[in-house]
Symmetry: C2
Subunit: 433 residues, 2 copies
C-alpha cells in the first residue's frame, strides 16, 4: 500500500502501459507509475485521489514501456558511421577501421563519440547499453553526466591504455548499489585473445564479480580457425578457458553447433543477437529459435554503428524478427519474445534482471513513452506488434533513466545537441588528413 | 539559360543536393532548383542574384533528393497492420486477411485506408507508389485530393467491383500528360489468374497502353504449383501468356531460375524487390545481384503494411541492402545502386523515367528534404551511405509532389491527421464484431 501522506518524486499517468512485469507482452490501460528518487514504488491502476508527488507527468495517447536495453555496442564507433559500407568484414576492418582506430583513438575521440552516441540512444528510447571499446573511464564520465546506464567493458587487449589501471579505476568509482555505471571485462574474441588472457579474464571476473563480454563464433572463418588452433569450437574452447556461464555475454553466436548450444544452455551462458550487423558484414544468421528452445537467454544488440549503421533497437527488433522468420519458415515467432530481447531478457543477459527491463516495484525508474499519434501505429490492432514491426524510433518522445527525465516532448534535456554535432564534424575532418 | 525577367513559381536553395541526374549518387553543395508550376526548369549552382520567384524555400542543413518511389504496395491494407504477425503466409492469408477482406472491403474502407497510408507515405518521403488493391477509382480520388502520384492497378480478379468499369473510369479520367494518377492493370498471380485472363490482361494493357503489375514467383509453393499445372516456371508461363516486357512489373521474384532471369533480361521486364515482406512471410531472398548483373531494372517496394508492417523505404533500403550482403558474401554492393532502386531505377520500373526519379530539368517537381541535424546522420562521412543505412524516415521534414508542397517542417499541409486517425480507429472497431 502506498503511503497517502508521503510526497513522492513523480507520478506518471499512462494511457497505455506495457510493463513486461509478467513478460507476457500485455498492454494495460489507465495505469500509474509512482516513483521515489531513482526507483519505482508502485505500478497499478490510476487512483483517485492521485498519490502526492512533486511532479505529475501525464502521458495521454502514449504507450509507456521499459527503457530499451542494448546488449552489445561499441558506442564511439558512431564516428566511423558510413565508411566502407560496400565492403565485407575483412576489407572493412583492414582497410578502413583498423587504420582509422590506430590513428584516431584518444580520450577526446572517445568523449565526442560517446556523446554523439548517447544522443542517438536517447532519441531511440535506449536507457542501458553494454559497451566494449577503449578508454572506458572516459566513457564512464560521459555516462555519468548524461544520466544513462551502461555496463562498460574494459578491453583486455587495448593498446591505448592499461587494462588493469582502467579496470581498477572503474571498479573503485562505480558498480555500487544505486549507481548507473557497471564495470565489465571485454575479451575481443577467441581468435584474438590467447588462452592465458582468457583465463586471466575469468579470474578477474570472478575476483571482481563483474561480467565478461566477448564476440563468439561471429564468422565461419573464426570457427575453422579456432578448430585448427585448439581442435574444438569457439564455445568449447571458451568453456575450457573458464570463460562461460551466466556472467558471460556471448555476442553474435552466428555459427553454433548443436553441442555449442547445449554447452551454453547447460552453463546458463546468455547470447547477444545482433542481426543487422551480422547481415551487413555477411556473417550469417544466428540460430536464435534453437537457442530459445534450449532455454538460452537472448538479448539484442545493435553492435557498433559503423556496422549497422545506427543505434536503433526498434529497427533491430523488426529486422531480427524477420530474419528468424526467413530462417525458420515453419515456426511461430511471438512479438512478446522479440520485445523481451530488448527489455526483460536483455536485463537477464546483463545480470541486471532484478533492477531493469520491467516497470515493476523496486526496479530502477528506466521508462520510455511512444507518442501513438503516428500513422504507422494506426489502427491500434495490436500495440505490441506495432512496437516490434512498425515503430521506427521516432515515436519515442519521453525518456527517463534512473528516475531522471532525460527527454521530454522529443527534446533532450540540458544538452546542446549542436555543440556535439559540431564536434563530431571537426573530428571527421581529421580522419583523412 | 534561365529567363532573368520571368517570375518562376518556386526556387529551392539546397545546401546538399543528391539529384541522381547522373545516377552516380554524387552529392553537390549549394545548388538551386527552379520550379515552374509542376515541373523543374533548372538545376544548378545557386546564382547571384537569385531567379525571380513567388516563393524561395531555403533548405539549410538539409539533404535534398528526389521523392522516393515505392514500386509495390497495397495501401488500404494499412488497416490490417499488426494482425496475425506471428503467422506464416498461409495461415496469415487464410485465417486473418481473406476473411477480413471479405467482410470489410467497401469504398469507405478503401478511402480511410488510403488516407491513412498517404499520411505515412508523406512522412516517409514517398511521392509515388504503384498500388494493387480494390475499388481503385476510390483510391484515385484520395490521390487527387492529397497531391501524391500513383499508378493504381485495377484488380482483374476483384469480386468487389467490375474490372472493366473501373478501368474505363480510370482511363477516361486520368493518365493524361500532367496528371498524377496513372491507370494500370493488376493480375494477382500466375496461380490465381487463369491463362485466358492473363492473355486478356495483356491485350487490355496493349490496347490502353498501360502497365501490368503482377506477383511472380513469390514462394516455392507457387513455382511447383505452376510447374505442375503448366509444365514450366511462372516466368516462362507468363511469357507464353503475353504478360512480359518493359510494361510489366514483376513483383517479388524470390524464386527465379537462371532461365527466368534470362527471359526477364531479354524482354526488359522489370523487377520489384520487396525484402521486408519476403522475410516476414518466410518467402526467401530474391536474387537481386544476379538480376542486376543481367541488366534487369530493379525497384524496391514495401508491399502492403500488413506484411511489413510499414510503408517506409528508408528501412526497406537498409534491410534490402543487408539481405543481399547476407546472400552474397563475396560481392560488393554500392549504396548508389540501392538508392536508385527507390528513385531513378524505380521510375524505370514504372515506365516513368522521363518524368520522375531524378531532380532534372523537364522532370516533375517531386522533391524531398532530410533535416541533417539528427545524431544518426553524423558525422557526415558519406551522406549517400547515411541515406541507405542510417536514416529511418523521421529525418524527412519537407516533401513536394508535382510542384506542390505537401509537408513543411514535418507538418502535412491542409490535412487533419487526427480526423484520419479517429476514422481508422472506428474502422478497427468493426473488424471483430
Amino acid at each position: 500500500m502506498l503511503n497517502k501522506e508521503k510526497e513522492f518524486s513523480k507520478v506518471i499517468l499512462c494511457e497505455y502501459l506495457l510493463s513486461m512485469e509478467g513478460e507476457d507482452g500485455k498492454v494495460k490501460q489507465n495505469q500509474m507509475i509512482v516513483i521515489e528518487k531513482n526507483k519505482i514504488q508502485f505500478v497499478g491502476p490510476v487512483s483517485n485521489p492521485l498519490p502526492k508527488a512533486k511532479e505529475v507527468i501525464r502521458l495521454n495517447n502514449h504507450l509507456v514501456c521499459p527503457g530499451l536495453i542494448n546488449t552489445h555496442t561499441h558506442l564511439p564507433m558512431v564516428l566511423f558511421r558510413g565508411l566502407g559500407d560496400h565492403l565485407t568484414l575483412k576489407g572493412w576492418l583492414e582497410e578502413i577501421i583498423f587504420p582509422l582506430e590506430k590513428k584516431m583513438i584518444n580520450p577526446d575521440f572517445i568523449r565526442v563519440g560517446t556523446e554523439l552516441a548517447l544522443l542517438e540512444l536517447i532519441k531511440n528510447g535506449i536507457t542501458t547499453v553494454c559497451d566494449m571499446y577503449f578508454h572506458t573511464p572516459v566513457m564512464a564520465e560521459v555516462f555519468e553526466s548524461y544520466g544513462l546506464r551502461g555496463l562498460l567493458a574494459v578491453d583486455m587487449l587495448s593498446s591505448f591504455s592499461d587494462w588493469k589501471e582502467d579496470l581498477d579505476s572503474l571498479c573503485n568509482q562505480y558498480g555500487k548499489e544505486n549507481q548507473r555505471v557497471y564495470p565489465a571485462i571485454a575479451c575481443h574474441a577467441p581468435y584474438t585473445c590467447e588462452p592465458d588472457l582468457l583465463k586471466l579474464s575469468a579470474e578477474e571476473s570472478e575476483k571482481r564479480k563483474i561480467p565478461i563480454a566477448i564476440h563468439v563464433a561471429e564468422t565461419e572463418w573464426e570457427v575453422s580457425e579456432i578448430k585448427k588452433r585448439y581442435g574444438k569450437t569457439p564455445v568449447a574452447h571458451l568453456k575450457d578457458c573458464g570463460v562461460i556461464g551466466p556472467h558471460c555475454v556471448f555476442v553474435h553466436c552466428v555459427h553454433l553447433s548443436e553441442d555449442d548450444i547445449n554447452i551454453m544452455a547447460e552453463t546458463n551462458t546468455p547470447l547477444s543477437y545482433n542481426p543487422e550487423s551480422n547481415m551487413k558484414l555477411s556473417s550469417g544468421v544466428a540460430p536464435i529459435l534453437k537457442a530459445l528452445e534450449k532455454g538460452i537467454v537472448v538479448g539484442m544488440g545493435t553492435d557498433g554503428a559503423a556496422s549497422n549503421n545506427d543505434l536503433n533497437l526498434f529497427t533491430e527488433m523488426d529486422t531480427g524478427a524477420k530474419l528468424q522468420k526467413l530462417k525458420n519458415p515453419d515456426k511461430t515467432i511471438e512479438a512478446k519474445d522479440i520485445f523481451s530481447m530488448v527489455t526483460s531478457s536483455a536485463a537477464k543477459v546483463l545480470g541486471l534482471s532484478h533492477r531493469i527491463g520491467k516497470i515493476q516495484t523496486g526496479f530502477f525508474a528506466d521508462i520510455i513513452a511512444l507518442d501513438l499519434n503516428h500513422p504507422n501505429l494506426y489502427p491500434r490492432n495490436n500495440l505490441l506488434n506495432h512496437l516490434v514491426y512498425s515503430a521506427s524510433g521516432r515515436e519515442v518522445d519521453f525518456l527517463m533513466c534512473h528516475g531522471k527525465v532525460l527527454m521530454k516532448d522529443s527534446e533532450i534535456q540540458g544538452v546542446d545537441e549542436f555543440r556535439i554535432y559540431a564536434e563530431a564534424e571537426l573530428m571527421r575532418k581529421t580522419f583523412f588528413q
